[in-house]
Amino acid sequence: MPIYPVAEMPELQNPNILNPFVLMDPSVAPAVALVVMAVSVSASFLIARYFFKSYSFSGFGYLLGFPTGFAFLGLSYFFQFAGWAYAGDALLHPAFFWMQIILQAEGITLIALSYHFKNSIAREDAAVTRYRPRHMLVAVLPMLMVAVSFIIPSSAFVSSPYFNYPRLADLSFVMTVFNIAVLGYIFKSAIISLVKSANAKLLYAPAAFALLSLEQYSLVLTYFDNSSVAFAGSLVVRVAGLALLVYAMRHAIRMAQARRRDLEIEA
């Protein structure tokens, strides 16, 4: 493979593949990028803050993945914006992109780990554990998930001494498919848990994760045809998913407050 000086890299002629914000109309792109970044980062950190408080208050260790995951997601949205803001910088543009895909994949993985460990605890409580190969897989799976979302993007960087644009774009496709699979697991775990606990009225959270999954699917479409419509769709469903999760949280808190008021009136 020939090694080009950064400024002459042929892939630089088509930078669209890394940050789809450049596909948008330049007259609206700055405002859209800024607003979407601000809303996504605020919502992610708000969710992270509430759940970190829940973790520190309740002391349930498995909860830690959820706020950490959303903090990572918030950072990834920031790096997506930064990548677009530095679209002309041959070093920072791909570097921010690399940060974005690592943080996004790790964030989604950490959220999934919260569900995974919660399910493991429930299974241990339900039955006397007998050692089986399946248990080994369950123990190894979290390590694999965390490793995959970090090692794959890192290996792409380490294997070539400079940022290789097409390779990074292919990598983003692989990581997007990985994200869809992990979000599918989160969706399944959340919905099963809510139905089991007779909380079927509160299906906002699975719906929110379904929307985040749809965001990733729209990004796959964007990867294949560089469609600004698909990318705009991915931004809309992402913001809708995060907003739905924030709404679900506020709804749950209001329900608890109303229940408490009823008890106090009864007393």
Partner: protein, 81 residues
């Protein structure tokens, strides 16, 4: 554990008009020694008060703790965790 004890005190007060340690022990299923230790800790943190005849009452701080715990548990459950 604090949450269980505070809920037991609230429930006992609601049902019987006051909260007695023996009944709280029955609700919370703790050994007497452990329960007394918890009472001392909670009293030190200002969550409960003990009268001279041994009855228990929840303070405003204890009530706030129960309310906050309820909210956070509902929040966790709302996402299926």
């Amino acid at each position: 554990m604090y949450y269980d004890i505070l809920c037991a005190i609230e429930e006992d007060t609601f049902r019987n008009g006051d909260a007695r340690p023996t009944r709280i022990q029955h609700y919370s299923r703790l050994s007497y020694d452990k329960m007394v230790n918890h009472f001392e800790e909670m009293e030190g943190k200002g969550m409960i008060q003990r009268t001279q005849d041994g009855l228990l009452t929840i303070t405003e701080k204890g009530r706030k703790f129960v309310q906050q715990y309820d909210e956070l548990i509902t929040l966790i459950e709302s996402v299926g965790l």
